[in-house]
């Protein structure tokens, strides 16, 4: 299995190289994306097979990387699960790109990096030593950076790419430190050796914090998230889908692998940090999603939110594990991992929707769109599945992971520490708030883009996208529904991964009647997505049928109620900004909201203006000072460029004297 996986990776890398020399014609994207689709499908199959067979871990060492160590690779349940996630996401994005990629003007800026990006992510998942892990991690960053820079002519894109790679570089450095702590000065870099090494709780907690910074910066955890809302949207949409849907999960994989698999026992007091970071990230992320006026950025902010939810789940797992409750840790871990999978499904889907809209209209700003449900009915329907799923509404898959998360939150009284007993339900409340806000955000997203009337000419003239794209979106939508209706299957599937990460797994769910979830039989809380789906379908369908049957079925079209002001312009519709207003007012301080109203004095016929803006407080209070500091440092140091030779000599002389004096006194 591992050999097959690495072969696929190798093929992806070869494909990348080949793409660099392919002619810049219309065929090349089809070839590259088609091959990527096939290869990713194989990756998914490999992950699937390993999980389905609950196969024992297999390792492999290649003579590359650190010379005395070689590159270690291994596939176990955890990596298989993420490989499956990567395979599905990658295949869908590639399939989508076969159609979408045709609209790219400069395919040679995307194609050579795209398969390699997929391959690098696979290597991160498959690697079994620190060097290979970090190398592929960095390659992943690098290639995605190149992809972000596809539209490099735009100043915004260049800045986004810059910010992204700097943050990625920072993250990798922090990871280096984390692995440095784990490997010790002797340099035992392979994961097996790291796993064997005993370390005290302080050290483990330090590694956990470093991982939180390092992996968190890649995943979009606050306050290291700043690059994400600019970089993800800047890339072509299929790449955005991959970055948001898959790459953040690879970051989470890194966190899980290190913290739960390699690190050994953790102190309980490390968990609140993770939980709080996760919960705050979630709620702040979604508040920004509600307030952002750019469709793809809304999705990127929502990625931050979902990453926060996942980290909150992981924090819970840390807490339970530190209290020696592997069963409950498994519940939280299952929730987190399933949410990772779900988020990949619906976020990829939604980014593809955004891409489709972008292609059809050329616009990303929500306030230029509207009414696309008429022009792009299939896309709209698929988008509806996506927004329902991401809003954690039953019976789709988003709700399943949400539900599991709440179930594990509700087990908090079993924790021994009063602090956690208080914290966890509060975090649960924050997550509940997040879920409700997510629904708001996506009503806004869907409503402003697809519903109502077109707010611009391109939106009014849009047409449905190509079949490849629709096929990819339909596949993801189907998986969203499937994972929502048959969550037990997914839970059983993730079992081997959960077992590695938390030492236990949930009881098998597939044997329950009506596909019901009963994660903890002793608690007896249950949910059946299948039945809810069935009931809603039967009841809804039945109601419609009955009403049409026994009452009326007549329809007449007429103008909408205009409240006495006829021929209202489409601009009078509630737009992105106005929809967000109540939330912006309620949560003003969190997003540093500012509203300015300009009213012309009486008699002045000019238009009134209203502007609303939000500011990322992390940017204002952390990054701006940091940038200023670096700038000051650079300016200060720069004066040393313009000294006279005599002054430079004085520097040399001074240092020499200093050293000699030091030597004299040291003796």
């Amino acid at each position: 299995m591992i050999g097959a996986g690495l072969t696929i990776v190798g093929l992806l890398l070869v494909l990348s190289l080949a793409a660099a020399v392919l002619p810049n014609g219309p065929k090349s994207p089809v070839v590259v994306y088609g091959a990527s689709t096939a290869l990713c499908s194989v990756l998914a199959t490999i992950g699937f097979a390993v999980l389905a067979a609950s196969a024992d871990p297999v390792g492999l060492i290649l003579p590359i990387g650190l010379p005395w160590l070689g590159a270690h690779f291994r596939i176990d349940g955890l990596s298989a699960f993420f490989l499956l996630l990567l395979g599905i996401g990658g295949a869908a994005a590639s399939l989508y790109a076969i159609g979408y990629g045709r609209h790219e003007h400069e395919p040679h800026r995307t194609l050579p990096f795209y398969p390699g990006f997929l391959g690098a992510m696979a290597v991160v998942i498959l690697s079994d030593d620190a060097f290979t892990f970090l190398l592929s991690w960095e390659v992943m960053s690098l290639l995605s950076w190149a992809l972000v820079l596809t539209h490099h002519r735009a100043e915004d894109t260049r800045q986004a790419g810059y910010l992204y790679l700097v943050m990625a570089g920072f993250g990798t450095m922090v990871l280096l430190l984390a692995f440095g702590l784990m490997a010790g000065s002797g340099g035992s870099y392979d994961f097996a050796a790291i796993r064997e090494t005993g370390r005290n709780e302080m050290l483990a907690a330090a590694v956990l914090m470093l991982m939180l910074l390092g992996a968190g910066s890649k995943a979009g955890l606050m306050p290291m998230h700043v690059w994400l809302p600019v970089a993800h949207p800047a890339a072509p949409s299929h790449v955005s889908a991959l970055m948001s849907g898959v790459m953040t999960k690879v970051a989470i994989y890194g966190f899980v692998r290190v913290v739960f698999d390699l690190l050994g026992p953790l102190p309980w007091w490390a968990s609140p940090v993770v939980i709080v970071a996760g919960a705050l990230t979630a709620v702040i992320g979604i508040l920004f999603a509600i307030n952002d006026g750019d469709g793809k950025r809304v999705l990127a902010w929502s990625t931050i939110e979902n990453v926060g939810i996942i980290f909150a789940g992981l924090g819970l797992a840390v807490a339970f594990r530190a209290n020696a409750m592997p069963g409950l840790a498994a519940l939280a871990m299952t929730a987190a991992l399933i949410h990772a999978m779900n988020h990949m499904l619906f976020k990829s889907l939604l980014f593809m929707v955004a891409g489709a809209v972008l292609n059809a209209t050329g616009r990303r700003d929500l306030d230029a769109l509207g009414g696309l449900i008429h022009r792009m009915p299939v896309t709209a329907a698929l988008a509806l599945v996506g927004v329902t799923a991401i809003s954690a509404l039953p019976p789709l898959n988003g709700f399943v992971s949400e539900w599991l998360m709440f179930q594990s939150v509700l087990q908090s009284p079993q924790l021994a520490q009063p602090g956690l007993q208080f914290l966890v339900p509060a975090a649960g409340g924050v997550l509940a708030l997040t879920a409700a806000l997510a629904a708001t955000a996506f009503v806004r997203f869907f409503g402003v883009i697809f519903l109502g009337r077109a707010r611009s000419d391109p939106a009014a003239a849009a047409s449905e996208v190509d079949r490849w794209s629709l096929g990819a979106m339909a596949g993801l939508a189907a998986l969203c529904i499937l994972a929502g209706v048959l969550p037990g299957l997914l839970i059983d599937f993730v079992g081997p991964a959960v077992e590695i990460a938390s030492g236990d797994r949930l009881v098998s769910q597939t044997s329950n009647a009506w596909f019901t979830l009963v994660p903890l039989p002793q608690i007896d809380s249950s949910y059946s997505g299948f039945l809810v789906m069935a009931f809603v379908a039967i009841v809804g369908g039945g109601a419609a049928w009955t009403v049409h049957r026994i009452a009326s079925r007549g329809v007449r079209r007429g103008p909408a109620w205009d409240c006495g002001f006829p021929n209202a312009d489409p601009i009078t519709q509630y737009g992105a900004g106005s929809f967000a207003q109540p939330i912006r007012r309620s949560f003003g301080p969190v997003v540093a909201a500012r509203e300015t109203v300009f009213m012309p004095p009486p008699g002045d016929p000019s238009a009134a203006r209203h502007a609303a803006s939000t500011t990322d407080l992390a940017w204002r209070h952390l990054y701006t000072p940091l940038i200023a500091l670096v700038g000051a440092l650079a300016t200060r140091a720069n004066s040393l460029q313009f000294l006279t030779i005599r002054r430079y000599l004085s520097l040399v002389f001074g240092t020499l004297i200093l050293l000699l004096v030091g030597l004299a006194t040291w003796n």
């Binding site: 590359i64 990387g65 340099g187 040399v652």
Partner: protein, 480 residues
């Protein structure tokens, strides 16, 4: 006369220098330059296959210098190839005269001779002479363009270099005086292999003082802050092939010399551990150079500061010591030399195309000249420690091994690395992306050396050749 590679790497450049000095045609001399460099490289490469000669009182070949000789002659060769394709355009634009070029090519070989001599010499006196020779020849090269700036740069380089060389000499004398009671008067007390063998018996206090002078003296050549001042200007104002040689080779040679003395210090247990001093200088150079990167306006000066930064990393690694850090330091030296010279090749081509070295006037290279632009992107990212270049491997080893031993130092190191990375990337983004600036000039110089270096960097980053690993490991053990 039997086949003797160490002497050959000296004889060939010496003879070539003499020939070139007499050669009127610049075209022919460019190719003779290449041919001589090729011969030198082949001679050096033959060290892989032929048995190593016994260490003599003057010359020797061991695990440490074999890598550097081969590397030195290799980069010397690629730089010569690049120079051959580069210098023609310089003549066209009138920046140099044919007479200048004659001098240039002769000096090139003198410089190669000096550096090779420093590497193969087994005698600290000879080593000193060789470094001085290399310095003087590069001073002349830096001033080649005879512009106001070039002369200023050369003068600055010359004065600072001379003081450095004087201090280094004093250190050398002290070493001799420490060794003289043990190894006897005369030549034996200056043979570095003998010195190291009997290092334990030398007067440690004498060694301490000597090391301070040596590190300040040769450190000036290495470009460590605060002795770095000559470096950015010398890089920026000289011909670009020379900048490549300066960064890629001369710094390495100076560093090699420092390492030799570090080995000596490490072999004497009672002497001051050289580590802390090197760590301090390394970190200072790293952070200082990183901060300097931001306000740069000249592309060559930018990468010159980056060289200071990397010298800082390398010296830090050696200062930390231990098998892994030393290994990383050696690897980083090799990688930096290959990568930085590749960058200067790219920069040379860019400056010719755009007719300027101002960063602000260079835009969108990946758009206008994809092969050159992406080559630069890869090279700069490699030097910034991005995989799969070998720099990543060495930085990986340095950071991971130092953090558990000296967390604070490692944090400073990481701070410097991130600072430098952000700065380099800032300039790279401007240069490589966006709407191309200027006219769509065709390339004037070859890209083969650039991509050859890049291929090597990747190769070593992914799979280091076995013998190299063995040499590095044995040297790493010696360095303590």
């Amino acid at each position: 006369m039997s086949f003797d590679p160490p002497s050959l790497v000296l004889i060939v450049p010496a003879v070539a220098a003499a020939m070139l000095a007499l050669m009127p045609s610049y075209r022919a001399s460019a190719w003779i330059n290449v041919a001589a460099s090729l011969l030198t490289f082949l001679a050096a490469a033959s060290l892989f296959v032929v048995e190593r000669p016994e260490a003599g009182d003057y010359l020797h070949v061991d695990d440490l210098n074999i890598v550097f000789i081969v590397l030195n002659t290799f980069v010397g060769l690629t730089a010569a190839v690049f120079s051959a394709s580069y210098i023609g355009h310089e003549l066209q634009t009138g920046r140099v005269t044919p007479a200048n070029l004659r001098f240039y090519h002769a000096m090139y070989q003198v410089m190669m001779f000096g550096m090779n001599l420093a590497l193969v010499s087994n005698n600290i006196g000879l080593m000193w002479v060789a470094v001085e020779l290399a310095t003087l020849s590069t001073v002349l090269m830096v001033g080649l363009y005879r512009t106001h700036e070039a002369l200023e740069a050369a003068w600055k380089y010359f004065i600072l270099g001379s003081v450095g060389i004087a201090l280094a000499l004093f250190g050398t004398i002290l070493i001799y005086m420490a060794a003289q009671p043990i190894l006897g008067e005369g030549l034996p007390s200056m043979v570095s292999s003998k010195l190291i063998a009997s290092a334990a018996e030398l007067d440690p206090k004498m060694l301490n003082v000597a090391f301070v002078f040596l590190i300040v003296g040769y450190g000036t050549k290495v470009g460590l802050a605060p002795f770095h001042a000559w470096l950015p200007d010398a890089h920026a104002e000289g011909p670009t092939p020379i900048s490549a040689v300066l960064s890629g080779l001369l710094l390495n040679v100076a560093l090699y010399v420092v390492l030799r003395f570090k080995m000596l210090m490490a072999a004497n247990e009672t002497a001051l551990a050289p580590g802390p001093l090197m760590v301090a200088l390394g970190l200072l150079s790293l952070v200082f150079a990183a901060a300097m990167l931001y306000r740069r306006r000249d592309i060559k000066r930018l990468f010159a500061y980056s060289s200071i930064e990397h010298m800082g990393i390398i010296v830090f690694a050696f200062g930390m010591g231990g098998a892994l850090a030393n290994f990383a330091g050696l690897l980083h030296m090799v990688m930096h030399s290959l990568t930085k010279s590749a960058i200067f090749f790219a920069v040379g081509s860019i400056a010719q195309i755009k007719g300027t070295q101002r960063l602000a006037d260079i835009r969108g290279l990946t758009q206008s000249h994809p092969l050159l632009g992406w080559g630069l992107v890869i090279a700069v990212l490699s030097i910034a420690g991005m995989p799969p270049s070998g720099v990543f491997m060495s930085e990986f080893l340095v950071v991971t091994t130092s953090f558990s031993r000296a967390p604070i130092l490692a944090l400073v190191l990481v701070f410097g690395l991130v600072l430098a990375f952000a700065a380099l990337l800032l300039h790279l983004t401007g240069v490589a992306f966006g709407e191309p600036s200027g006219e769509d000039e065709p390339l004037h110089s070859t890209l083969v050396p650039l991509w050859l270096h890049l291929a090597l960097i990747m190769l070593i980053g992914l799979h280091m050749p076995g013998p190299m690993v063995e040499w590095f490991r044995s040297v790493a053990a010696l360095l303590g």
